[in-house]
């Protein structure tokens, strides 16, 4: 921190950071406790990690979660990018704003409402609750984030770039493939990563629309946590924390290339 800041303020900031990180390190710390509780550290052990890796059910859930996250982000990115292109190409202000408002509905809606309304939707449409309904839901709530990450890149792009490409003989497809898409690539990646973290982090929507046979990590942790403390969860959170850090670093580098937009946060 800078020396411009007076000591009181430094202490305040330090406290905020301490409180923000304490619970996470608390979890990590007790994941090595042989005592089996989140108090009274007995001795160092890796047993919880071993147990975690022997728990094939949990490993399958982890796989499910990753597959859902990757697939939903991929589809959401494709649909979202084309959506952003469509919105961007709208000439009428009114249509554009209406589309943007509709786009943002799922972003501002509370998770409970998204979950409940999707549950009605899938039941009405006769879609069996399970992996497919979860995948559809994750795609659905990730699309608007992708759109919001891509749109600023599109509006930042000077329209003369497209004129220039046309002028040099590029067809419409050429313009899209050789100029527009490369230009908005950082936005697309940022959108993909945001979608990925939204999906990995989602609990409420999945909780509503999943069936008996299919669970994601968040839902599983919820049911474990309701039963009480199990240090398997601590071990798992340590691994997830590391995984998140990797994602953050990747995202950081993408954002650095994509400077003007600053940071996005997960819900």
């Amino acid at each position: 921190m800078d020396n411009k800041i007076n000591p009181m303020s430094r202490i305040f900031l330090a406290l905020i950071f301490l409180i923000l990180y304490a619970p996470i390190f608390f979890l990590v710390f007790y994941s090595f406790n042989s005592g089996g509780t989140m108090y009274g550290f007995k001795s160092f052990t890796l047993d919880w990690y071993k147990e975690l890796f022997q728990d094939s059910r949990l490993l399958i859930i982890v796989m499910n979660t990753l597959v859902i996250a990757l697939l939903s982000s991929l589809f959401a990115t494709i649909i979202g990018v084309f959506g952003a292109l469509g919105i961007h190409s709208m000439k009428k202000r009114q249509t554009k704003n209406t589309l943007l408002s509709l786009n943002n509905v799922l972003i501002v809606s509370p998770d409970v409402i998204i979950g409940a309304s999707f549950l009605i939707l899938f039941t009405m449409a006769g879609i069996k609750l399970g992996m497919f309904s979860v995948l559809l839901s994750h795609i659905a709530f990730s699309i608007p984030i992708v759109v919001l990450m891509v749109l600023p890149k599109l509006s930042e792009m000077s329209p003369t770039l497209i004129d220039a490409a046309r002028d040099l003989g590029a067809s419409r497809w050429n313009v899209l493939a050789k100029v527009v898409l490369p230009y908005i690539t950082p936005g697309i990646f940022a959108g993909f990563f945001m979608a990925l973290t939204y999906s990995l982090d989602d609990f409420a929507v999945t909780f509503f629309v999943t069936g008996n046979g299919f669970t994601t990590l968040s839902v599983e942790i919820y049911s474990l946590a309701r039963r009480g403390i199990s240090l398997n969860v601590n071990a798992l959170s340590t691994l997830l924390f590391l995984f998140t850090l990797v994602l953050v670093v990747v995202y950081y580098f993408i954002s650095q290339r994509n400077k003007p937009n600053g940071w996005g946060v997960n819900k």
Partner: protein
């Protein structure tokens, strides 16, 4: 083969119900010359460029390229290339790939592309910059890349949309020379858009002065400077003193309370006119010798000359460019030759104006 390459016939461009951006404009562009479209912002000059490039469609009228109507030819199929005001270089491609963009679209062979891009870059003095990223190039260098990207496609016409406006003064002057030189070497048509009259005067073979969607006057820089058709052109090109007066008879015009010998003729007796005298044609002299009596109001040193602002007793401002100083507050005389007076009729069309001027040079009196 005719010498015309582009022809506009009664072209109008209008958005919705707004006043026309371009109002029934017709003109011809000849092969191998340097043209400048000059005018204030919003005069329609960029619209003409966009119509030629194919970025926008004419509301009415036809546009011909090499004798063929091109109204419906899309931009990517036209034999013209554009240098944009903001250069519009692709930020994700390096210098080489930016220049090669058009060639790659044409699916040209790689070896050929190598040769052509090298050649184009050397034309704009950017050899060795092939692998540079655009963001590492200065404004002037970007400018050159943009030009290389246009000329590498060997278009018949290059359109330049205020390409020098983002550069600082020194670089701008340098690039003016370079562009003019480049046009001579390539021998192709340049159509250059600017709002900077000095730039237009310095570079062009032919200038079109535009205002409010109409071409006010076209001609060589000298013609336009010396013989502006109306107040707008006189005012826009260079600095001028413009006063109202009336034509007493051939070779005699009256303004600010005096009658003065001039070289204009062929106007109606007592016809109201506007009179232009350029500041550099006014000479500071004694009150006795001066044709006009004025009081010096203020004076600025402009480097090569003093810019002296004076007022006559009628309240008209007279701007004088002089290498001699004057004393603020003094009464002085201003002297000018009969040739310095340029008489403009109200609402004269360009054709009539040309005919009248033609008459002076051939010594034929043209009676109305």
């Amino acid at each position: 083969m005719t010498n015309e390459i582009i022809q506009f016939r009664n072209v109008t461009k209008q958005y919705d119900d707004d006043p026309a951006v371009l109002d029934n404009v017709s003109f011809e562009i000849e092969r191998g010359k340097f043209y400048t479209l000059l005018g204030p912002s919003g005069c329609g000059k960029t619209t003409i460029l966009r119509l030629i490039a194919g970025f926008t469609e004419a509301s009415e009228g036809d546009i011909y390229f090499n004798g063929k109507k091109i109204n419906d030819v899309p931009a990517n199929k036209r034999q013209v290339n554009t240098v944009f005001q903001d250069y519009a270089l692709f930020p994700h491609l390096n210098v080489f790939e930016n220049v090669a963009f058009g060639l790659r679209i044409k699916k040209m062979k790689n070896t050929e592309i190598q040769i052509k891009v090298k050649e184009a870059l050397s034309f704009v003095n950017l050899e060795g910059y092939e692998t540079r990223e655009i963001r590492d190039m200065s404004g002037g260098q970007r400018q050159r890349v943009a030009i290389a990207r246009a000329i590498v496609n060997e278009p018949e016409v290059i359109l330049l949309d205020e390409p020098l406006s983002a550069l600082d003064l020194k670089l701008r002057t340098e690039m003016q020379y370079e562009l003019r030189e480049l046009q001579r070497r390539l021998g192709i048509t340049f159509i250059f858009v600017t709002h900077d009259q000095e730039e237009a005067l310095a570079m062009s073979d032919e200038i079109f002065v535009l205002n409010k969607g109409k071409i006010q006057q076209s001609g060589t820089p000298i013609d336009i400077y010396d013989e502006p058709i109306n107040r707008f052109v006189a005012d826009f090109i260079g600095e001028s003193n413009i006063v109202e007066g009336s034509m007493i008879k051939d070779y005699l015009v009256e303004f600010v309370g005096g009658q003065f010998e001039c070289v204009d003729r062929g106007l109606n007796p007592d016809e109201p006119v506007e009179v232009v005298i350029r500041p550099e044609d006014l000479e500071i002299t004694t009150l006795e010798r001066g044709k006009l009596k004025v009081r010096v109001d203020s004076q600025l040193f402009r480097g090569v000359h003093y810019e002296i602002s004076c007022y006559d007793i009628y309240g008209n401002e007279w701007l004088v460019h002089s290498t001699k100083r004057a004393a603020v507050g003094d009464e002085i005389g201003l002297y000018f030759d009969p040739e310095a007076i340029h008489v403009m009729r109200f609402g004269e069309s360009e054709a009539d104006f040309d005919r009248r001027l033609e008459a002076y040079t051939h010594g034929v009196v043209h009676e109305q």
